[in-house]
């Protein structure tokens, strides 16, 4: 495989981890606001 294509495969793998973290943050944020409706966010 050529360099450019495999580079992008590598980047995409790294991004999967970031999206998992982002999803967890979204879950934590929604849970926080569900449990504490009307409360202040941080």
């Amino acid at each position: 495989m050529e360099r450019g294509f495999v580079t992008l495969i590598g980047m995409s793998i790294a991004y999967v981890a970031s999206f998992i973290g982002l999803g967890l943050a979204w879950y934590g944020w929604k849970r926080r606001h569900r449990d504490d409706a009307g409360g202040s966010d941080s």
């Binding site: 050529e2 450019g4 590598g10 999967v16 970031s18 973290g21 967890l24 943050a25 979204w26």
Partner: protein, 618 residues
């Protein structure tokens, strides 16, 4: 080290802060040793050798990215230490606000957990290759066994074990680097023998660190060199502009004062560049002894080969011990750092905010172990993909290089702009690196043009994303400004802080009342940015460049080598003479406020309402 872990076990288990930051009590020389040791890994002599073997002394500039610490020490390290954020992910909720900040924090934490596992795998594989070269062991033995030994003291003693180990391992590493490099140069006929050998091969350009092949042509164009300088030096104004930043960030926060944080990463960076200069001289000696290696994988092992083939039998054991030391220091740092992001930014923040300190330390230990096991699988699977990922990570830094600076220096930059730049970078890289060249829309671009193209295309995405969304709330920005005192375009926030009576009016001094270099400061005066800061910012990279190039030339007894080194030392002395009184004043005032800042940070971690300071300077 494993034995010593017992001593620090009791310290590490007291709290999350002890397990991950050594209680923020370290003098500058411990973080400095840790920065140097962590960035001296088993793979480092491999890639430095490969680069210098191919490019001669000009290859040193490929390693000059470490000079970001020369500016960061006096800019972003100072700002980041004042934020008291445990991690770069946590910094996001100090700098930004609301859901955007939380999404950024999760994004960065996921990225860093992955990155540390990846680095553990790639450094482990390098150790496997070295053990295979030295003893003929299967690669997996070198990957697994040394890392498991490291895990014992990292699990038990946390960051205390990491920094204490790094200090001892750093001393061993410096000794081994000097010994093998000197033995290599002597074996090639001494400094004059190396110079004559390189010249007689018709390769005298290898002795010139500025042997350009043209402005834009050849394999060492001036445009590439200038790009590298900009990336390193201007990058020091931001955070995360180098992959190394994340390791340094932990060391910055573990230092006991702002001044210790600044000196910790300055010395760590300077010794790393000095090391590269010494290595480069010895790699030229290897080139003279073996000038016709065309296989890159073979030439990359040149420095290790000199150690194993030239040292007397009694010293080979010591050499291998030094290799183990540099491996331990890097592995332990990344295990602890990856566990920090998982524990602090994912588990505590989003999963269990009410977790006790005891439970957080326990989760930190479990995360360390899981990262280690993951890295074994990763290392074995990714032997070939490693090269792809390293290049990918370089591109990654290109697309978010400017946003990483803007988050520090521009008040209007917001969480949505920053998040957009991270996400867009993947798509832009697909276009510039593969899709458009594949369909012959554009040619395959050289590295430096890829960097500038990715940066320019990123601007098209993140500037509108920033300007079409709201600025962060002014209350939050004022809070952030008072605590960290960032450099750059913060006028509206500063004016608002003054209007609220939280910040004293700027003292206008007549030109005659201020000495050109000021040596006495009150804490309030030292909080601002002044001529002294800019002198340090300009002289510091010059100092590091002269030390790096001067060390290589001096080891080869080149005319000018000692002058370059002397120039570097003089520049360094000037930097510290100018900036030290100011850093001392900043540190004294700031340390008085730190308990208050930490209390507020802890409130934020537990999702309690933020409190904005009212009516007093903070």
């Amino acid at each position: 080290m494993v034995g010593g872990a017992g001593f620090f076990y009791r310290l590490a288990r007291r709290s999350e802060s002890d397990f991950f930051l050594a209680g923020r009590r370290l003098p500058w020389w411990l973080p400095a040793a840790s920065v140097f040791s962590t960035h001296t890994a088993t793979d480092t002599p491999i890639w430095v050798t490969g680069t210098v073997y191919q490019h001669g002394l000009r290859g040193l500039w490929y390693t000059f990215f470490s000079a970001w610490t020369s500016v960061a020490s006096f800019v972003s390290a100072r700002i980041y230490r004042r934020s008291v954020a445990f991690t770069q992910a946590e910094w996001q909720v100090v700098r930004f606000h609301g859901m955007g900040a939380e999404l950024l924090r999760g994004w960065m934490a996921g990225w860093q957990v992955f990155m540390n596992m990846f680095i553990l795998g790639w450094v482990g594989i390098a150790m496997g290759r070295v053990c295979e070269l030295a003893f003929g062991w299967p690669v997996w033995v070198g990957l697994v066994i040394p890392s498991v030994i490291t895990a014992f003291y990292t699990l038990a003693a946390g960051y205390w074990g990491v920094v204490m180990g790094d200090f001892l391992q750093g001393i061993v590493a410096i000794f081994a680097i000097l010994l093998v490099s000197i033995v290599g140069i002597v074996a090639a006929g001494g400094p004059h023998g190396v110079v004559e050998g390189v010249t007689s091969l018709g390769q005298a350009w290898r002795l010139d660190s500025l042997a350009f092949t043209g402005w834009f042509s050849g394999d060492f164009p001036m445009a590439w060199w200038l790009t590298m300088l900009v990336i390193a030096v201007v990058g020091g104004f931001g955070m995360g502009t180098s992959i190394d930043w994340y390791i340094e960030a932990q060391r910055i926060q573990s230092a006991k004062t702002v001044r210790d944080a600044a000196y910790g990463i300055w010395w760590g960076g300077a010794i790393t560049l000095l090391r590269n200069g010494i290595w480069a001289a010895s790699i030229l000696a290897f080139f003279v002894m073996a000038p016709h290696i065309t296989n890159g994988a073979e030439s990359e092992l040149g420095w290790y080969r000199m150690g194993f083939e030239l040292l007397p039998a009694g010293l080979i054991g010591m050499f291998f011990a030094a290799i183990l030391a540099i491996h331990f220091s890097t592995i332990s740092s990344h295990m602890n750092l990856g566990a920090l992001y998982f524990t602090r930014d994912l588990y505590q923040r989003y999963w269990n905010p009410e977790a006790s300190e005891k439970r957080l330390v326990w989760v930190g230990r479990m995360a360390t172990a899981v990262l280690l096991v993951g890295s074994f699988f990763y290392g074995l699977m990714m032997q070939e993909i490693t090269q792809w990922l390293i290049f990918a990570l370089w591109l990654m830094m290109a697309g978010i290089w400017l946003p990483n600076i803007l988050q520090v220096v521009w008040w209007r930059f917001n969480a949505w702009g920053y998040l957009a730049s991270w996400m867009a970078n993947l798509g832009i890289a697909w276009l510039v690196v593969w899709v458009l060249p594949e369909f012959h829309v554009i040619p395959v671009l050289p590295d430096y043009l890829q960097f500038w193209s990715l940066m320019a295309l990123g601007i098209v995405i993140f500037v509108p994303a920033t300007l079409f969304t709201k600025a962060e709330p002014m209350d939050h920005l004022v809070h952030f400004y008072l605590q960290t005192r960032p450099l750059g375009w913060w006028g509206p926030v500063r004016a608002e802080a003054r209007r609220r009576g939280l910040l004293a009016e700027e003292l206008k001094q007549t030109a005659g009342s201020r000495p050109w270099i000021r040596r006495t400061w009150t804490a309030e005066e030292a909080d601002g940015w002044s001529r002294e800061d800019w002198i340090a910012i300009v002289l510091s990279p010059v100092c590091m460049a002269l030390i790096m190039v001067g060390a290589a030339h001096a080891f080869l007894a080149q005319p000018g080598g000692l002058w370059e080194l002397a120039g570097g030392v003089v520049a360094g002395v000037l930097v510290f003479w100018v900036i030290d009184p100011k850093l001392k004043a900043v540190s004294v005032e700031y340390e008085l406020q730190q308990a208050n800042y930490l209390h507020r940070l802890e409130e934020r971690m537990r999702w309690q309402p933020d409190t904005i300071p009212e009516g007093r300077a903070d």
